[in-house]
Symmetry: C2
Subunit: 245 residues, 2 copies
C-alpha cells in the first residue's frame, strides 16, 4: 500500500492551505495547459485517480461528463470532497492506486493530477488504465517532472550567473524522500523516457508531452511564476487507447 501522507494531520493542515486547494483549479497555474489536453467531455465516463478535494471532478461534470468517479487514498480527502459536492453525476471512493482494478472498458477518460509519482509500479497502473478505457479513450495526467525530482538535494543553487536547478542521479530511478509539510514524503523518480515507454508498452499512443512553463504573459501577471521557466516542475502527458477497427 502506498504511503498515505494525506491523512497525516500536519501534512493535511499544510496541504489544505495551498492556493490550489483554497482556490481550486484557478489556483493551479498549469490548469489552462491541462485543459488544452482534455478531450471534449460531453457524455464521457471519467475516472479521476487521486481526486483530492474533488475540484476537477466537479469541473468535469459541469463541462458535460456523464459521470465522474473520484478515487483517493485519503479518507480526509474523500470526506472533504463529499462534503463539497452535491452532484448526482459524481461519486467518490477511497482507493489505493497500487492495487486498484477498474472494470474493463468502463471509462472514456482517465485523469490524474500530481499523483502517479507516488506510485511504485507505474507499469501495472498503466496497463490497468489501458484495460479500463474504452477503445479511443484518453489518458491525461500530470506528475512532478523528473528534472524536478532527480537530484539528491532538489533545490535552487545560487551561482555567479544567477540561480540554477541541480540535476544529478537522473538515471537512478526509484524512491526519493523529501520533506513537504511533513518529513519523509516518499515519491518515485522515473526518467521521462521510462514514463513514456511504459505508456507505449501498455498499448497507448502518445498524443502530447508538455513540460509546463508559464508564458511570458503569465509571468508578467504573476512574477512569482518566473522560476517555473528556469526548469520544469510538472510534466503533463496525454495518451490514447487505439480506436476499434
Amino acid at each position: 500500500m502506498a504511503q498515505n501522507i494525506y491523512d497525516d494531520p500536519d501534512f493535511f493542515a499544510g496541504y489544505s492551505r495551498l492556493p490550489r486547494q483554497v482556490h481550486g483549479l484557478d489556483g493551479a497555474p498549469e490548469w489552462p495547459a491541462i485543459r488544452a489536453l482534455l478531450p471534449p467531455l460531453a457524455g464521457k465516463r471519467v475516472a479521476d485517480l487521486g481526486c483530492g478535494f474533488g475540484w476537477a471532478a466537479r469541473w468535469m461534470s459541469s463541462a458535460g461528463a456523464a459521470r465522474v468517479l473520484g478515487l483517493d487514498l485519503s479518507r480526509n480527502m474523500i470526506a472533504r470532497a463529499e462534503a463539497d459536492t452535491a452532484d448526482p453525476a459524481i461519486a467518490y471512493q477511497i482507493a489505493d492506486l497500487d492495487t486498484l482494478t477498474l472494470d474493463d472498458g468502463a471509462f472514456d477518460l482517465v485523469y490524474s493530477a500530481l499523483t502517479f509519482h507516488y506510485i511504485a509500479d507505474f507499469g501495472r497502473l498503466a496497463r490497468m488504465i489501458h484495460a479500463a478505457l474504452a477503445p479511443g479513450g484518453d489518458l491525461v495526467f500530470t506528475i512532478e517532472h523528473p528534472i524536478f525530482m532527480a537530484a539528491a538535494k532538489p533545490d535552487w543553487i545560487t551561482t555567479t550567473g544567477g540561480k540554477t536547478w541541480p540535476v544529478d542521479h537522473y538515471a537512478d530511478e526509484g524512491e526519493r524522500r523529501t520533506d513537504w509539510f511533513t518529513n519523509g514524503v516518499v515519491k518515485y523518480h522515473r526518467t521521462l523516457g521510462t514514463t513514456i515507454n511504459t505508456l507505449i508498452d501498455a498499448g497507448f499512443a502518445l498524443r502530447r508531452v508538455v513540460e509546463f512553463a508559464p508564458t511570458p504573459d503569465e509571468v508578467a501577471r504573476q512574477p512569482a511564476l518566473a522560476e517555473e521557466r528556469e526548469r520544469p516542475m510538472m510534466l503533463l502527458l496525454a495518451a490514447q487507447k487505439a480506436a476499434a477497427l
Copy 2:
C-alpha cells in the same frame, strides 16, 4: 544555411581525434542503445542525415541495407567518408539539412546521429522526413539532451553533496552558443516536449524515448562514463510513419 563548423580547420582537427571518430561506432558508448532502436535493415533504403565519416553508413550496409545515402554539410566529412568507403551500396552527398528535400517515399529508414540540434527549424525537417519515408518507415535519431543544453553555463557544479548539473532557461528555446574545439558553435535548444510534439504533429507515432545512460556494468568497465548517469547528455528517439491501410 546552417553554420558549418565542421569545415573550420581547428574544429575538424579536434573533432577528428574524438574516440568515436577514431574508433567508429565502438567508440560511442550510446551505440548499443541506438542499435536496439533500429529496425531490421535487410533490403532497406536508408538515409543518414549528418553522416560524418560514414561509420554508420558502412555498418548499415554490412547489416544488409539495400542502399545507404549519407548526407553531410561538411566537405571535409564527405571527402573523408568517400575515401574510407568502398561499397557500391553507399553514396555520399553534401547537403544542408535546413533546406534539403528528399524524394517522397524514397526511404525505409531515416537515421541521424547528433545532428538535429544544429537545425533551427525542426518542424520543417520532421515534415520533410515524414514525406520521404515509405508507409511503415522508421525515423531513428539522437540529439544532445535538452537537460544538457538548456543552461546559460552548461557545466558541472561542485556542491558539498557532490557534483551536479545545472538546468536553467529550460523554457527559453532557441539558440545556444558554446565553445567546442572552436568558439561560438551554434546549437538550438528545444524542450523534450517540443521535440516529441513536433514529431507527432508531422504525423509520426512515437516508438521509443531513451535518455541515454550507461548501465552500472558499463560504468564498471569504463569508470569515466559514471557522470553520464548523473544527467543525460544524449536523447535517442524512434518514431514511425503509419503503415498503409
